[in-house]
């Protein structure tokens, strides 16, 4: 089962592989200009690494929204796609 924590760890590992300093990045850090300051290509690179690793897909129109997400929000978004939420039987 892929947890939100696993995804967060993958995000941070990927950012380090992309040569970003993650020492100041926590769950509430946004990816884009208000936080980690990833430029657009770097957000795209991170998103394809996530797609490749977890087998999820981000639509083109979601690309702008990704930059505004925090680490925690992106982790939750990916977690929901890896394991679609199941509604308990009523």
């Amino acid at each position: 089962m892929t947890t939100k924590d696993e995804i967060r760890d993958f995000l941070l590992t990927s950012l380090r592989a992309m040569r970003y300093d993650t020492s100041g990045i926590d769950d509430d850090t946004a990816l884009g200009p208000t936080g980690a300051n990833l430029e657009s290509l770097a957000v795209a690179e991170l998103s394809v690494r996530v797609e490749d690793h977890f087998g999820v897909t981000f639509e083109d129109e979601e690309a702008e929204q990704l930059a505004a997400m925090t680490i925690s929000e992106l982790s939750a978004t990916v977690a929901a796609r890896v394991q679609p939420a199941s509604t308990p039987g009523r």
């Binding site: 992309m18 040569r19 770097a42 394809v48 490749d52």
Partner: protein, 419 residues
């Protein structure tokens, strides 16, 4: 003083025999080859026996860390050579020259090795594995673009794609810009990183590469020699800082040499084979002489394209004899020690030509033990020759029949560089 003077004020080179123009000149004069066998575990070990591998350059030394994730070696070498050339020229863009008056023409085949790697990734892992960083990491203009970004060059910018003539052509086009007063400074040259499997294999399958030298790789590249049997691929970069002579004088810069003239023609013959009658190549050299305003007899040294292919060396020798007559200039070929760095060789060899002119020392062709009679020329062999000369020429001929010749003369700047 003429306002159309163009002077070389800085040079930066990366080659298999070392970094800097003096390293290449020294290797030629001392018969020191940069060619070697790839190590057994190298990706190229099964494809070629000998190549000219350049020195390791940490991408972090030329780029911000976050821009090194997917970036081709050709870009890394281009940035290193450009930095060295600008430092050599003592030029800081913005401080010494208006950024909009600086141009960049840096050429090359592009980062095909990086493209190859991403194609393999895509085939094996599918669409999401292709990096968004690929285009800025490999396009042929990215050497020029990254140099412009790093050094704040905001004038004309370009990248030329004429294969093995591209580097020399970049120097020629830079000269055109400066003579037209469209720039005060041009950072020009070429960088090539062709040592990757697909490119090596296509050269090998085309029977263009030297074979049978595994036990003696330094003997493999033998321009004009009777035992030559093909070219040896190498990687490298060469960047010049060219400057309007008046601009160099105004800031007190010392010149290496003037670009006295250049010529360019096309064989209109075959995509890869030179025209055996050498007519267009001869005309190219004549045009360079005409633009320089000198006679053939004024050229005291010719650095040949000299790839060591069976046909190419014969065609070039014939073209030289057609352009210069039977009493042609002394000739030598750099590729014997550096290998063929495609377009980058044009600039590396131009640098050797400049040093030969200024130092009065003409380097020999390494491995030229037994000159092929079909390549009759005044070959400089075994030892360098001392000669005070007024002009020197460098030839570069590319796949596609692109011919370029550049003539250098002593610098007309008030201050001159000692070599």
């Amino acid at each position: 003083m003429s306002d159309t003077g163009v002077t070389v004020t800085g040079m930066g080179l990366v080659t298999s025999v070392g970094i800097g123009a003096a390293a290449v000149m020294g290797a030629m004069c001392e018969g020191r080859s940069g060619l070697r066998r790839p190590p057994g575990d190298h990706p190229l070990a099964g494809s070629l026996q000998v190549a000219g591998f350049g020195p390791p350059i940490d991408p972090d030394s030329v780029l911000p860390a976050t821009e090194t994730v997917v970036v081709d070696r050709y870009i890394v070498m281009a940035l290193r050579a450009a930095g060295d050339a600008l430092a050599d020229a003592g030029l800081v863009i913005g401080r010494d020259v208006d950024p909009f008056r600086v141009a960049v023409i840096v050429s090359g085949t592009g980062g095909l090795a990086t493209l190859e790697a991403q194609v393999i990734i895509r085939i094996t892992r599918g669409r999401p594995s292709v990096s968004p960083y690929l285009l800025p990491g490999m396009l042929p203009n990215m050497g020029a673009a990254r140099i412009a970004i790093k050094y704040g060059i905001r004038g004309y910018s370009s990248s030329i794609g004429t294969a093995c003539a591209a580097g020399a052509q970049s120097v020629g086009e830079a000269t055109r810009l400066l003579r037209g007063n469209d720039a005060d400074v041009v950072v020009c040259g070429c960088s090539e990183a062709p040592l990757f499997p697909t490119l090596v294999d296509t050269f090998g399958n085309a029977r263009a590469l030297a074979r049978g030298w595994a036990d003696d790789p330094t003997a493999a590249s033998r321009p004009f020699d009777r035992r030559r049997n093909g070219l040896v691929l190498g990687e490298g970069a060469g960047i010049f800082v060219l400057e309007r002579t008046a601009h160099a004088d105004a800031r007190g810069a010392a010149g290496y040499a003037d670009v006295a003239g250049w010529g360019a023609t096309n064989d209109a013959h075959h995509p890869t084979m030179p025209d055996p009658n050498g007519e267009a190549a001869a005309e190219c050299m004549r045009r360079a002489l005409a633009v320089a305003g000198i006679a053939a007899a004024d050229v005291g040294y010719l650095n040949a394209h000299g790839t060591a292919t069976k046909l190419g060396d014969v065609a070039e020798a014939l073209a030289v004899r057609k352009a210069f007559g039977t009493a042609g200039p002394p000739v030598s070929a750099t590729k014997a020690v550096t290998g063929h760095m495609l377009g980058a060789s044009g600039v590396v060899e131009a640098a050797v030509t400049v040093l030969a002119l200024r130092g009065g020392l003409l380097p020999p062709t390494h491995n030229l033990d037994d000159p092929d009679p079909a390549c009759e020329l005044d070959h400089i062999r075994k030892a360098p020759r001392r000669a005070r000369i007024t002009h020197a020429m460098s030839n570069s001929f590319g796949f596609g029949g692109h011919n370029v010749s550049v003539v250098f003369g002593h610098p007309s700047t008030r201050l001159t560089r000692t070599v």
